[in-house]
């Protein structure tokens, strides 16, 4: 039961954590703490409730504790901003699955070279540098290109959300 619920919500839970924790490796640490807490407290979970909402409550407190313990040597958002974003982001993630589906459509419609660059950017920084060396472009040029591609994708998803009804 726990495994299947976590499996279904894993991406949304991490998306929620990543919003509140600005550095990816910190977000992964928090994610592990959250998984453990969810497991340990699963007997408290009321199965009539939404698992994601319940998990978000645990995420919120885990993030706050993590921030308190680590804020001296890391980038962390203020408590006030965490609070604001935590509420907004739960709502934003409500149609996450639909947006993910639309994103895949948008991504597949890009030229293969752009797809490759976007995929590389999700790996280590070194990959972008290596790609720059191979293609004879500057790293900054590639970052600019990445920026533009991500915005195009966001616009494409938004467009599909708003207008795909009339396109179908």
């Amino acid at each position: 039961m726990f495994t299947s619920l976590l499996e279904r919500e894993r991406l949304r839970i991490f998306g929620y954590i990543r919003t509140l924790v600005p550095h990816n490796s910190d977000a992964e640490d928090v994610y592990q703490h959250v998984c453990l807490t969810l497991w340990n407290r699963f007997s408290d979970f009321d199965q009539e409730r939404d698992f994601f909402s319940w998990a978000c409550g645990i995420v919120y407190y885990t993030v706050c504790n993590f921030r308190r313990s680590n804020k001296r040597d890391r980038h962390f958002f203020s408590q006030e901003l965490i609070e604001t974003m935590s509420q907004e982001r739960i709502q934003h993630l409500s149609n996450h699955n639909l947006r993910l589906e639309l994103l895949q459509d948008c991504f597949r419609s890009l030229p293969p070279a752009d797809q490759e660059l976007l995929l590389l950017s999700t790996l280590e920084k070194q990959s972008v540098k290596e790609f720059a060396r191979q293609t004879g472009k500057t790293v900054q040029t590639l970052y600019n290109k990445l920026s533009s591609l991500r915005r195009d994708l966001a616009a494409c998803v938004k467009r599909k959300l708003n207008h795909e009804g009339s396109e179908s």
């Binding site: 991406l11 600005p22 998984c35 199965q47 958002f77 709502q91 993910l100 995929l119 920026s147 708003n162």
Partner: protein, 561 residues
Amino acid sequence: MTAHEIPPQFEELLDQCLDNRLTEDQFAEFEKMLHEHPEARKVYYDQLDIKSGIQNSNLERLKELDQIVRQGIASSPEQSSPPASKNSYAAVVYLFVAAASVSVLLLTEWLMTGHFFWDNSPEIVQNEQLAPPEKEQDLPYVATLARSFDCKWGNENPPQFSGQRLLSKNLTLLQGIAEFRFDSGVRLVLEGPTTINIDSANCATIKSGSFVLHGYESSPEFELITPQARFYDIGTEYGARVDEEGGTDLHVFQGEVRVQPEMELMEVSAPLIVTEGNARHIDTNRHEVIDLKPDLFKREVPGKPKSLTAVRQELLAYDSFHPDKIGDPIEFSNWHHSGFGWQNPWRRHINKMTKAKGKSLPQHSLQPSLSSPDQQIGCIELERGDTAWRTLERPIRLDTNAIYYISFFIQQSSEMQGSGYHYGNLSLVSERQEKQFRKRDSILFGINSDNFPTLLLKNQIHEKAPPLLPDTTYFYVAKIVASEQALDQVFLRVFYDNETIPEQEPLVWTCNSTPFDDSNIYQHVRMYAGKKGCYLFDELRIGSSWESVVNLESPTDPPRE
């Protein structure tokens, strides 16, 4: 630069954040922008999802992290080990520090008390176990905080918002004016400082303070208890001031009040009737006539009617089903995109973008012409299993303290009358699915196959006679009271043709749910016609106040104020 404009440098900072390349100063600047610009936060959320969505390895990476946690759980007999994170050195240090801290605490306790906590007598532990905290969920709702003005409350868990349902409990109003509407129909207007205990839907105790009670003719006698007397209203409006010693001045504005002194007074030993236009002082030593002074009391919560602009701001979503352009043939006009407050057009399936079926009737309206000179022409017809889904920009949240109202016109066509499956409804649907049949939670308002108005939610079915008539328009207004810490409740009122719609929400509803526990977020709206049904829907409104959903002027026209 307005508050809505995102500073141009935000994009660059966002990219650097996504790629973990922000310096200290840049991070501070980035954080400031997120803090000040809600639109920037939206872009941030979108971009996080874009990045994680294209990262094929993201899901695999998370599975890998899950696996590490599971291994940690499996290897620990107590199943409580911290996650085997990458920072294993930090974890060891953490454990060492934790163990040292516990040792210091135990030593301190032994030095101060002479024993350790596990040496406590078993009775203390048992007493703690015998007194579990009272759960608010187990108590019944008896009243509603109808309105409030400039209120400060002195309790730990004060009422949070107008419209909130109230349990029987003690409340201290330090300042301001608040109106409670008891479920028996009686209204009580309190002026701070006043301490009240809501005993039941028919009884309240005022320890001290000032209040005005408005009786309700259909309700049983309302008992109001003060330290020196009990008052029973007889078709009444009366005010009373209770001083710190319990002495009470009673002023009867309308009807009569029966007074039952708590103790045998010198002059009064039997119940006394105080009639309209009279006032009395009652305490342990004296009972006498005093001058009637209605001006001493706040008889209603102040506040002028809201401006139309304010009412419109309380409207969260709206659809007139009026197509932008009338198509040819007209029933194919594109009605799917009208209105505001929606994330997307009306669709056939919840998670697919195929346009919803349904006939546009752009030259027809269910809205009674007398209700609004600016009526929006256009409504839609769904039949034979047609379904239309739309997602709200601002969902209805039952996991927080809030109040929502929904209104729409509905009409069943007589053409499809037959046995069964000719129901039609509008429901709010959550993302959450029930495990066994993967059915989504919903709150449904509609007409069943027996033509009864129906409210359905979480194992509750509320149907009300008499049946509704085909080819007749009904105006449905529902109220959802959401509570974070207590139970939620839903009310439905069906207004018949030509019935006057009150400016304030009614006391009497067609269907009331029993209180239920729900923390769902309802972001989808679904309209549905049963497979032998044919229904017209029109003028859908979702708002945060009664006024916002019963004001039938077009919210897109300039206000006529």
